[in-house]
Symmetry: C2
Subunit: 263 residues, 2 copies
């Protein structure tokens, strides 16, 4: 196979749809934004969209499909959300019941798919500014933590914010804030810089999700709102059915990363 980084988004999705790619999507179609997926029944869609609207940092909405339509018209008009992700997870009443490579058999006419920004985009912007991204250097998952920062409730959706942490050299903290502020559609500016205890994190070395990374002398832990938040919040209210992407197996959009910068 050719280098997955040079595939166009359409080519990458075709490969996935045809079952020829079943691994994580990191590194595919370089320069294009990848998205998190959450599918709910229409009955919950307004409240969930309102939750995202009220909590844009953890829940940056890139696209929402019309009820029953599997096409994310804004960000990938030739895609099918039911087949174009390498792995999906199906939850019933908050319990994982299936992991599948397409969701054609689960799809219903009153389902709405939410595509949410992921931090991969702003990490590229950090790297281009020579700010190190530790979990990429250490080839592991980003460390994530439950905080005591409450999300703003919307209907039945509520819960604390989950954050990801990247250790940033002191001299680069200001630039890291500036660089990520340009990308509000993919989590944007940090929610906290410095003391983990201030946002309810007891031990920086024991993340609640993902992997522990090295924090070096002279580095400051910097925390960003994390895309795990909306899934955790949705799961908590145990919807009849909810479908998500499997971790790391993202939806590849047609949008250049730079198209999500505000300036």
């Amino acid at each position: 196979m050719s280098n997955p980084a040079i595939l166009t988004p359409t080519e990458a999705r075709a490969l996935i749809r045809e079952g020829k790619w079943n691994r994580p999507t990191s590194g595919m179609a370089a320069g294009y934004t990848q998205a998190n997926l959450a599918i709910l029944k229409k009955e919950l869609a307004f409240e969930f969209l309102l939750f995202c609207q009220r909590n844009p940092k953890p829940c940056p909405v890139l696209d929402v499909t019309e009820a029953g339509s599997p096409v994310p018209k804004l960000i990938a008009p030739d895609a099918d959300i039911r087949t174009d992700i390498p792995a999906y997870r199906v939850y019933r009443h908050g319990e994982l019941v299936d992991e599948v490579t397409d969701i054609l058999s689960y799809w219903e006419d009153d389902m709405v798919a939410f595509l949410l920004g992921c931090s991969f985009t702003f990490e590229q912007a950090m790297l281009k500014n020579d700010i190190p991204v530790r979990h990429i250097e250490e080839d592991c998952n980003v460390p994530m933590y439950q905080t005591n920062i409450p999300c703003i409730k919307a209907g039945r959706f509520e819960g604390p914010m989950v954050v990801s942490m990247r250790p940033v050299p002191e001299k680069d903290v200001v630039r890291a804030v500036q660089v990520t502020s340009r990308f509000p559609a993919v989590h944007g500016a940090p929610v906290h810089v410095g003391n983990p205890a201030s946002i309810g994190i007891r031990d920086i070395h024991q993340p609640d999700f993902g992997d522990r990374v090295t924090v070096k002398e002279g580095e400051v832990p910097v925390f960003w709102a994390c895309g795990v938040t909306p899934q955790a919040v949705a799961m908590h209210m145990k919807p009849e059915i909810m479908i998500t992407h499997a971790p790391g197996h993202m939806f590849i959009t047609d949008m250049h990363e730079e198209q999500y910068s505000v300036l």
Copy 2:
């Protein structure tokens, strides 16, 4: 009465609620963001929120109430949307049927209120940067035009974008773009700079709404997405009932204008 500019938002809303202020809100509670109002039945709320989500420049959402709740919790938690605006318009099937000073008798348990950003905020930012705002100088309404720029459809909501125009001296065009880009929650960056015909405007001197303003030698017409768009689009599909603020009679929020800047 004391100078309306120095009222707090809570004081300004109390005055309005008690029927002691029935004029336009321009100049009240200076420095605080004012918002447009659109109330629809819950049955249409998801589609309308999705329309706003897809068209953030004409439809910048500041807050959405829970169905049946008259309280905009995010931007004015002690307010009541049914009484705190000086004048409302009630539309049935797209026809204006009433203009009232409160909507207590029209309010229903399945109504959802949308509060959308207005351009007043970015005009203040322009003035602070010594960029002239002609319709303020000429003490008239901003000129607005139908364009050939289609909004992105969502469910039953669709239609062309309405824009407002401000003539900007050539030397200030770049700065006007920068300054307003900082405020995506209140229409943000221009949608077009220069030739009106390129976006389907035949005669710059004949606005479709608002007033004609002087365009001086060496000035460039600059066009911003306008908050009239969502009302026009909603009206076009003739909802059973829709309630809006009367033009110029806005909702005063607790949010400082600067809180809506991204940088």
